[in-house]
Subunit: 293 residues, 4 copies
């Protein structure tokens, strides 16, 4: 089932991911250099927030026979354009995989969905482990051959717990996924963990804040249950939106039924967001996520 096509980049193909200030000649510069290298652009997407000095984002995949033995030559060839446009840039080569940590509390639907996709190579990543403030899901996680770190968050001792997580993970992960982790992470943690954090939460039309959102949604008689995946910021549910979707519910459903529908849509939406992040399709600009491709 696992094929290189699924696993991300195909053989002899690399990905250039760039963000910089928009200015004239960026694409001409990059594609000119790639043409001189003998590379051919396989796919390219760009986005500009404003041609006059706005933010510019580029994701290009290019084919170059033997690129794997030639990484340094490619890097060197692109250096002038990176410098000239003061680009924030990244080159990804075949076989490179991101390293994830998944955080969870007690509800396992999003976690298990990600583990299951990981095992069947639905998308490719390495797993640094699962972190939880509860011991409940240890067995289910270890069955997958994945480490389970129980880090309790005692009342008034969140800094200590976060310190422990930092020690476990910082420098060792490229992405943290909050798969129904019900603790709010401090701004301090988000800065120190040193990598992006993706969160999933329910969304309703209209939004219900506070405890028991499914009970509120049931009382109000909502017709759709939704989920939103976003990058976590200090303001927990307010970071840049990555993906959203909804499912229709029937009137005869109980609040518990709505919650079950919510679990289905949450795991679908979170999986899409993680997948796009792994594919280097996502950029954060102000409070918005730009997706390329």
């Amino acid at each position: 089932m696992r094929t290189s096509q699924v696993a991300g980049l195909q053989a002899d193909t690399a990905r250039l991911v760039v963000s910089c200030r928009d200015q004239q000649g960026i694409i001409a510069g990059v594609s000119g250099l790639l043409a001189r290298l003998g590379a051919n652009i396989v796919g390219s997407h760009q986005y500009s927030t404003d041609p006059e000095g706005g933010a510019f984002f580029l994701r290009m995949e290019f084919h170059l026979a033997g690129i794997d033995g030639d990484r340094e030559r490619v890097r060197a060839a692109l250096a002038p354009v990176v410098e000239r446009f003061q680009m924030d840039s990244k080159l990804v080569f075949p076989g490179e995989r991101k390293r994830l940590a998944i955080f969870v509390s007690r509800r396992e639907h999003c976690l298990l969905d990600l583990l299951w996709r990981w095992r069947r190579h639905d998308f490719e990543f390495d797993l640094a482990g699962v972190v939880s403030n509860h011991p409940d899901l240890r067995y289910e996680v270890e069955e997958f051959g994945v480490a389970y770190h129980h880090v309790p968050v005692e009342q008034g001792r969140k800094p200590q717990a976060e310190q422990k997580m930092i020690e476990l993970l910082a420098g060792n992960v490229d992405l943290v996924v909050l798969a129904r982790y019900m603790q709010i992470l401090s701004g301090d943690f988000l800065r120190r963990i040193g990598c992006p954090v993706i969160n999933i939460h329910h969304s309703f039309l209209p939004a219900f804040m506070g405890a028991s959102p499914y009970v509120q949604a049931h009382q109000r008689g909502v017709k759709l249950i939704g989920a939103t995946a976003h990058y976590a910021t200090e303001d927990l549910d307010e970071g840049p939106i990555i993906e959203q979707d909804v499912m229709r519910v029937r009137q005869s459903m109980s609040a518990r039924d709505l919650e079950r529908v919510g679990a289905d849509i949450e795991r679908i939406v979170l999986a899409r967001a993680v997948h796009w992040h792994l594919d280097d399709r996502l950029f954060i600009h102000e409070n918005r996520t730009v997706m390329l491709g």
Copy 2:
């Protein structure tokens, strides 16, 4: 194109709409009486919020040859069960149509969609006229042969404007539809108008309050644009939800594009809500709408 099937009730068919306190024997009582009348139940939907004294709702359509010349006999036959269960009940006979007033400000998409469905008999109602706080849409409304009442709402003189609307409409309408009417109606108006009021507004995941919701939604990078139709209460956007739906938007869309998608989903959702109300499928219970069928 207009057929009796579309127009609501088929020939020789009546509709009984009931709400009361839930208690044993209601359906047995109603259906027993109808059986004795020689009527046959064509369709029946019920909903109970709680079997122990909760609220009970019933919508039954039954066939009885010659019912049109026999309305009083049917009413009389049902009277004992209505009394016994202290029902709030209504009988609808073929050809009976509700009378609507449509309120609008300047944005015409919902209004025109309703007028267009009215003219092609998509669903059946009579029109008492269109009320607007602006003169802008007079020509477009009068083209349909419908009266246009311009009732300006001057600063600090809303009570006088509402009084004028009451004089125009009270006692003469069965439903008011707010088709993007941008004034808040007072609780006093809602009580005095003497009929239900349906409103439509945008909904986002998450909800954006305040002015320029489409600009906010664009800045936050939402993926779905939604609309919610609900019964109006004093707390304008908080009444019982009737219907909701969403459309997906593309990242390259501007705030203005989102607004255009919003117009499409608003008119679809409002039309469904009005249609179900005309069909006597909707009941209000606490802050929820119960829909039967």
Copy 3:
């Protein structure tokens, strides 16, 4: 997590499921008897294809204190109405669970989704085992503590294989779920297995027949990928539809990406269909499925 509410019927509640020829007085008859028993109807849904001798379907849940020790009294009380209207009827009491067999070939997404929902009591059923024409998924199934029966289907020896499945299952299962089982079951098997069979397959707009539907869909540039769950009949993909849904795909997706989206929508749709069947909400009428509630 497992609560009686989730597990199906609540304590002291039973479900009556009925189909018969439509005729006057059915609901009056049933609800009259229940009232006399002292039972209260908690929820009731009915559907009639035609009041004049069409097919009538009813699903009623009623509350009666101590019903569990009283099953025979309830059955006896309902017998006269069952006989009078020549009903095909079934009573379901709290704690009764259906027994499933799941058939699979090599693609595991639908199977694992059902096993996972089973383990977390998302909905309640017993598992008679998994049957496969391939040995591949034995490990993944046995991890759940579920029996895996490898029944190869050799060229020209399908009758022998089906005979083996009949011996394994007939009389021991209430439902067979084809969770991406890629063999066509004979009409003979469907008759002898003695229980309903639910199948899932991809659906496209327009439909693509034959091999490699995802490649065809990709070549044609479809915008939506769908799935249809239906009761299996001899004409494999043509039985009564239970549920359908779609997901939107992006243009940059490969045929393999479409297949992955297809897997997501297939498991969601199949799970809904199985859930509704377990809840006794589904009736087959001609080539249509009637769903109540």
Copy 4:
């Protein structure tokens, strides 16, 4: 309500639309020339079917102060790159609008939706007129100040009818929209009309061919009603798909109700397809539509 933003291109902005064989250096070539002109790329989307000699499509919008008085200089500047890569190319300047003819039979929902969007400048085009094989909709079309050409298609005399349409339209239109035009256009007509033709038709999961698709869909109990917009080819319903969408239906709906839902989804989907075509976002490649942006 009408703003230049809505009307298509903003002031001082032009659009370059290109298709050619994929080869190294295309984007470098185009963007290099534009940079030398002093233009800045505002938005750019490209798609390649295969880097090794596949088909390449590009849609670029660029800003250049005073471009309107400078069209020939821009054309001349781009000529070398157009020639070098043997591009099929088009430049669109602010204020340029496509000219449409709309074909219709008797069902007016798609036609009226387009006329209504035209009048409110939802998107910008000129109207060459409406062509119908029936006289029925003359009044409704002429109300919009649009010419109505009744071209009957008598049995066995389709070539004569098509000849008349060619005389009315050929050389005078940029796009023909079949807004529920129920006659099959001959391959000869499609070649001679000299512009693309967009068609809309219902779509179901599974597809129902032949007469009365809504009756078939109702009998089979479908859960979703869809519509597909596509470019017309000789094989009427088989051309490249532009857009598709679905709406969910309720079980209690009649075949006539399904048809009404179908009308809603048809007009939404057709409007999107026409809009994208007007925006030069669509390219045909083999039997697929490539959409940029």
